[in-house]
Symmetry: C2
Subunit: 397 residues, 2 copies
């Protein structure tokens, strides 16, 4: 029943271990009933432990999010432990104790400070984690740590992802940014059921890491909106070991972080649950960037349009009805909309012949010109398919 | 491929002709390619022509909405002409001329003032109406007008509705409120692709009609949110003939209007495209009614939850993650959620055994207790199904 994902093929890199100073592992602890890998460990061997993180803006936050937000406060992370097979969300004080115990176990096993161990979880909400399996799994993962373990770690954080997701950028000056991501449903603003760990061997202080990370996520992960649903567990971490000994110029570093985030974000869209189309929505000539994002998101969340895209129907009327629900500046009689480059709507009315539009390819581009300014924004989404319904009405981690 | 709608059976009444002073007709003008009825006419024979209307809040409005908003400004409507088979939205100045010509044709045929003829359209956006078929259809409809033509009119406004929708309330004091509705997709706040005509033989002035209508729609049609999509064409009209000679007390009249609106709104939900479940979301103990509505709507629009309901999975975690995206007052650790009466989430964590929840019936009730005040609100929605995707990826009117 799972649809093919033509754009979802595993990249060749090693993700979090592409940068020097990091070891990683991915093991099968038995958390998932499926018996597939479910526990990943990423360790920063330094010399620097600088780190930054962004988390879900959902007010219902999972225990590991509460924990890791605290860990990140001093900008130091020595290790990240990530499990699939359970979100540890809505599990109350006992769930928080489980997260705490997991961090302590990692610290004990590796000789670290638990207050510098971040925790991330993904899977079903409302279930306690099987700690009798998770804690021995930590020892297993610690024993497997290696400087080429990034791919195994990326595999172990998958839930409904069909492939693991990694990305790397190597800068000519001798430093690298790499990362891994998981996420195939609940993709939405404020980051949604995505777990991402980025690593770099550049020498960058926590404040600069934070600035680069927030700038990158704002226009990448925050603008991936597969199904409008926001997770309780989203976590994006950036760890810097300084192992390269190179302190990069901030702009170059921020650009590398953005490139890795863009790569991973597009991998998330390409592997979204049940999707058969990857849809890029470009809103141009908006009065402000915020309004461009609002309009793009409104289009991205229109179920009727998403069904039409699945049916390869260039239904621009549904684009206009979505734009009309926003408060952005525009004149309804001045809206232009193109689908895959054909301006099927001009001046809020019928434009070029819709039969000119080909929607056979997986990639679909919708352009909305508001004629209200010079700001623009891009949001990525997917079509809505029967396979999406199937996967999410019969979900198990 | 169309799913059965166990709750969608045609009611027995005559809808807009249940009240005295009204004639109606429904005919096949040939606007729809399917050859089914597509043109409805409702005429108020007075003695009063008092009327009120509410329209879509979408900023991209169809030509008939622009027209009818003008007609309603003086609170007088002598006739309503409604077509299915084309929304006449995003059709530019020529589309507006088509609406104008339709009203003129009705006026000429019946000896009325065109400025008192409301027009409503539903169907695909972005296509001109076939006026060579619509205008002769007006004459056909005029010839068919009768005091029991309400059912034929209700049938003629259907698009993907599987059954026509009518409702009536007869008051002991000798006056009646009746109505008809269409709408099976794009159901959302601000009224969405619903066309509704309500009639009464009570003697009520336009201002009082307007007050009763706005009070009723605010808590009925405005809280039906099948798929979060807002139409360009929504129109709800209330016409009062005063044929009963009875001037009702305002509260009793408003209550009757609300009862008819509730009845029709639930018929819309019961016949929503592809739905297999009707879902009532009760948010209780909110700080304000607006916050209760925000939370209920956020739950109603969560695609993942709607898929889970389709799969009869009492996935309360998805309810909490939806609540968490709102800015309503609540403590995440004090949220209680019941599904079909079983409090599966207590204090933001695991509550009663989810295996106690039966979701076999078409009716599903989700209750969210915010413990933040004493306000409450109810929103109705549906599950998300493969049939919904199918109907909307292969839509034709």
């Amino acid at each position: 029943m799972t649809s093919p994902h033509p754009t979802a093929s595993a990249p060749a890199g090693t993700g979090v271990t592409a940068a020097g100073g990091f070891r990683a592992a991915g093991v099968t602890a038995g958390i998932k009933v499926s018996g597939t890998p479910d526990l990943a460990l990423v360790v920063n061997d330094g010399p620097s432990l600088a780190a930054a993180g962004v988390f879900t803006s959902n007010r219902v936050k999972a225990a590991p999010v509460h924990w890791s937000e605290q860990v990140l406060k001093d900008g130091q992370v020595s290790a990240v432990i990530l499990n699939s097979g359970g979100a540890n969300a809505c599990t109350g004080p006992l769930g928080f104790q489980d997260t705490h115990a997991t961090a302590e176990k990692v610290a004990d096993t590796l000789g670290l400070n638990a207050a510098e161990v971040a925790v991330a979880s993904t899977g079903l909400i409302g279930l306690r984690l099987p700690m009798d399996k998770l804690l021995p799994g930590v020892e297993l993962a610690a024993a497997e740590l290696s400087t080429d373990g990034g791919r195994a770690a990326a595999i172990a954080i998958k839930t409904t992802d069909t492939v693991e997701k990694t990305a790397e950028v190597a800068h000519p000056d001798g430093w690298t940014v790499g990362g891994m991501a998981k996420g195939a449903g609940m993709l939405a603003p404020g980051l949604a059921t995505m777990l991402v760990v980025l690593t770099t061997d550049a020498a960058v202080e926590p404040a600069a890491l934070d600035a680069a990370l927030r700038a990158a996520t704002r226009t990448t992960f925050d603008r991936v909106d597969s199904d409008g649903c926001m997770s309780t567990n989203d976590t994006v971490l950036l760890l810097a070991s300084a192992a390269s000994g190179v302190a990069p110029e901030q702009d170059a570093f921020a650009e590398a972080v953005r490139a890795v985030c863009t790569d991973l974000a597009l991998q998330l869209i390409g592997d979204a649950e049940g999707a058969s189309k990857d849809v890029r929505i470009d809103v141009v000539n908006a009065a402000t960037e915020d309004e461009a994002v609002d309009v793009a998101r409104s289009i991205a969340r229109n179920n009727l349009l998403k069904c039409a895209i699945h049916g390869e129907d260039p239904n621009w009327g549904r684009v206009l009805s979505a734009i009309g629900t926003t408060s952005a500046a525009f004149d309804p009689d001045a809206l232009d909309v193109a689908i895959n480059g054909v301006w099927v709507c001009r001046g809020g009315s019928v434009g070029d012949d819709r039969d000119l539009v080909s929607m056979k390819d997986r990639q679909v581009v919708i352009t909305a010109d508001l004629h209200a300014g010079s700001a623009s924004a891009t949001v990525w989404t997917n079509d809505l398919t029967a396979d999406y319904v199937h996967e999410n009405s019969a979900y198990s981690s």
